[in-house]
């Protein structure tokens, strides 16, 4: 986003309200004599198509796992071709997943606040059905439970296999997945393709207010050659806040 000069607030804006917020100009006023929403003419044309016309409630659509696997493999190749070493590839995969995780914090919690989701998949505005928003998670353990159960269920149609707190350090937690879904067709190389899932977790936690660093490690066990441990290291500030606000 290019940096633009922000005009002082005493400037009179020449922009009419309804044309979009411009951060260089500041807030625009609703004009006193606007007509109602559905009429065009003087007043705002409110389009019903486009992204604001779609329903936020998930229609539970599915695609084949192989389509996803092909897409994921091509993302990994793209990053591999444009990087010089393994850490860079993992970092890029992490940042690809990060943007997804950021969105998941908001959307999954919002959907949990909507009662009676069936039948709402075609309504473009479901906020009217909400009586109370679901409580925001303020504790580390609550948020990690949410990831272990709900987020994993959303991503991979099953909860993750284990959630463990490290006994050595108080800012480390681990989520364990015996058979990671998205990288199951990729051969073991020195690159951790699950950095993508780490990015999803990291984005989720950062946006929820728990800044952290997430890495993945292969820890084989009998029968599960791809068993992966996602190590979540929270910033010290998070642990301090957790202890302060009991």
């Amino acid at each position: 986003m290019a940096e633009q000069i922000i005009n002082p607030s005493t400037t009179h804006s020449t922009k009419v309200a309804g044309q979009g917020y411009d951060y260089t100009i500041g807030p625009t006023q609703t004009l006193p004599n606007t007509s109602t929403a559905t009429t065009s003419g003087t007043g705002f044309v409110v389009p019903t198509t486009g992204i604001y016309g779609q329903s936020l409630i998930s229609k539970e659509k599915q695609v084949s796992l192989s389509a996803y696997a092909f897409l994921f493999q091509s993302i990994v190749s793209y990053h591999r071709d444009s990087s010089k070493n393994v850490q860079e590839i993992e970092r890029k995969l992490n940042s690809s997943g990060y943007t997804i995780g950021m969105r998941l914090t908001e959307i999954l919690n919002f959907r949990d606040s909507v009662p009676n989701k069936t039948g709402l998949t075609n309504m473009d505005s479901v906020a009217g059905t909400i009586t109370n928003m679901k409580r925001r998670n303020l504790k580390i353990l609550e948020t990690l439970q949410y990831i272990h159960l709900t987020v994993w269920q959303y991503l991979f149609s099953r909860p993750s296999n284990d959630l463990v707190k490290s006994s050595e350090r108080d800012n480390e937690y681990m989520i364990i997945d015996n058979e990671p879904t998205i990288s199951q067709f990729i051969q073991h190389t020195s690159v951790q393709c699950e950095s993508f899932t780490c990015g999803i977790i990291e984005g989720f936690l950062d946006m929820a207010g728990f800044p952290c660093h997430v890495t993945s490690h292969f820890v084989e066990e009998t029968g599960f050659s791809n068993r992966t441990v996602y190590l979540i290291q929270f910033d010290k500030a998070v642990v301090e806040r957790e202890n302060l606000r009991q």
């Binding site: 986003m1 917020y21 609703t30 919002f110 009217g128 909400i130 606000r245």
Partner: protein
């Protein structure tokens, strides 16, 4: 009259709007001050953001001033969080810690109306967020978003 803002994760406004009618506009001096009022409310919002049990704070040294109205059921809508010389300020926190803050020109916060307004705007914000070309903390310059928010703001003027 109302001054509504959406504040991002680094205290940056990503959306601002004034909801006014012919009879109801901010006087120029107050209009200038609105961004500062919102900015000073950020401290209070951040304190309330991590508050676990509001009832237990009654006997703190701050005398219960920073106890928000949120119940144990919901801690997103915070209700009236601050006041400034006859203006009231209400707040709302999203699950991604984006803050919606609104200055109410008439000094009172009607919880029912304000709460449903915040919910609707949150839904619009989520749809904006789902767009892969939108990054968190980008200003929302989409004119459809702006129009829809203004339509929703009409219900604030009951």
């Amino acid at each position: 009259m109302f001054y509504f803002t959406i504040i991002g994760t680094s205290d940056n406004p990503i959306y601002e709007a004034e909801f006014t009618t012919a009879k109801n506009t901010f006087q120029p001096e107050i209009k200038e001050l609105n961004p500062y009022i919102v900015h000073s409310t950020l401290d209070i919002m951040e304190y309330l953001q991590w508050q676990r049990q509001p009832q237990l704070d009654i006997n703190t040294s701050s005398g219960g001033f920073l106890r928000s109205r949120h119940s144990t059921q919901e801690n997103s809508y915070l209700g009236k969080v601050d006041s400034f010389y006859g203006l009231a300020v209400s707040g709302f926190l999203t699950y991604g810690n984006i803050k919606f803050i609104m200055v109410h020109g008439n000094g009172t916060v009607d919880d029912t109306v304000t709460r449903s307004f915040y919910y609707e705007v949150y839904e619009l914000y989520l749809k904006t967020l789902m767009n892969p070309f939108y990054k968190v903390n980008d200003p929302i310059s989409n004119s459809a978003f702006d129009s829809k928010v203004r339509v929703l703001s009409k219900r604030l003027f009951v």
